[in-house]
Amino acid sequence: MKKVIMGNHALSYGAMLGRTQVIAAYPITPQTQVVELLSEMCADKTLDAKFIKVESEHSAMAACLGASLAGARTFTATSSQGLALMHELLHWASGGRMPVVMGNINRAMAPGWNIWADQNDSLSQRDTGWMQFYCSNNQEVLDTVIQAFKISEKLLIPSMVILDAFSLSHTYEIVDIPEQEKVDEYLPPFNPQLKITPDEPHAFGGLTGPEHYFELRYKLQKEMEKAPALIEETGKEYEKMFGRYLGLVDEYRCDDADIILITSGTVGSTARVAVEELRQEGIRVGNLRIKVFRPFPFEIVRNIVKGAEKIAVVDRNISYGHHGIFYEEVKSALYGHNNSVPIFGFIAGLGGRDITPSTFKEITNLALKKKRPEEEIIWIGVKR
């Protein structure tokens, strides 16, 4: 069934179709509609779930962890400050192998207070052991939530489904809402091999000395390394059932491109428009939108950019004292693999500053003009 819904409701529908059993969440702009709709769904029994109305995001994640350990499928959603407040427990979720699925609306970090799109919130969590899926439209949001349950529960690693503030969270788009029965077929009930129950009394997460901790963490990483192949597989399966492929990246006209834009989120959607317009001007440009940032899809990125003469990474984020984060990681991924191609790092759109097709034209032209990057960071749109 097609419906015109906002990105936040796409998250809620995803959680509903995924038959989430326990929800614990706390409101924050621009995420509130996610919890509001889920509250309604629980109230009118469209969704048979317990919704724990916690007093903070920190407790939201804590409740999810408990419920997940008890063997229930769990969902939460947040943004920026709320996500940051969960930080300690994000580490907990991955280390404890609790496959919570969370929606996060990308919003800038305070201070000053800013409720607009900016990836620093989720990217600051890049080292917490969560898988991260960056979405570019509402359909992708809904589809990704369902897929995320499947992947997370297979690997016992939590997932974050990420969308931009307002330009997705509050934007209405036409979304095909799959039928419940088909989703049930795609996504079996959660039935973890290990869970907390008095029938088999184990202690979870107790003191773990240097003689064991390393191996536990090694296993987490090894399992995470299975994700790329698994995401491709479950993505194809999804395509077979629902007609939409998910996958690791969204590649657009990269095969013959001289210059490839590397993007993510809605910015990666707008980039497509610029690619078309620039192509009409005779510039061979492509757009590689990275959908899965954790685990980093090394192989497919390396393959796609192989032929390019230049790469321009566009970051709506920054690691202060370093570079844009996608820029940093793309360079790192290509080191030793594609050593000759110059990679330019652009930072644009922090705190919701708009990124339009002409922003990409400016970026493309700048990258085409220079032989190689002369600055560590090229700032786009700063008033100077």
């Binding site: 280390g95 404890g96 192998r97 016992l156 091999q193 290990l194 184990h202 202690a203 979870f204 997460g205 107790g206 773990t208 064991h212 901790y213 191996e215 536990l216 090694y218 296993k219």
Partner: protein
């Protein structure tokens, strides 16, 4: 009667043996805390009135009852002295550990 629980050590030779998460599969009974003791309770059973108080107050669950009398499990007794202190007939003595 004290039920016997397994007290083996668990050794992981390879990461493959390690569970997915830090999850216990054995009991601390392998850990003989008797080695912590620097002074040792000894019960004079003659004066014991079987009140069960020493059993009740042992934080290390190492006084058990055999033939209706209290017996100390020195494998675990840490020598805190609570049993001696609380025994109403003062029939438990704390004596120096042999060296």
């Amino acid at each position: 009667m004290r039920k016997k629980k397994r007290a083996q050590k668990i050794v992981f030779k390879s990461e493959k043996d390690v569970p997915l998460m830090a999850m216990s599969t054995g009991t601390m009974l392998h850990n003989k805390t008797g080695a912590w003791r620097n002074i040792k309770p000894v019960i004079d059973l003659d004066n014991c009135i079987q009140c069960g108080i020493c059993w009740k107050f042992c934080p290390d669950v190492c006084i058990f009852v055999e033939d209706e009398l209290p017996v100390i499990d020195y494998d675990y007794c840490k020598g805190c002295g609570i049993c001696a202190e609380e025994c109403p007939t003062k029939c438990i003595a704390m004596v120096e550990e042999e060296k």
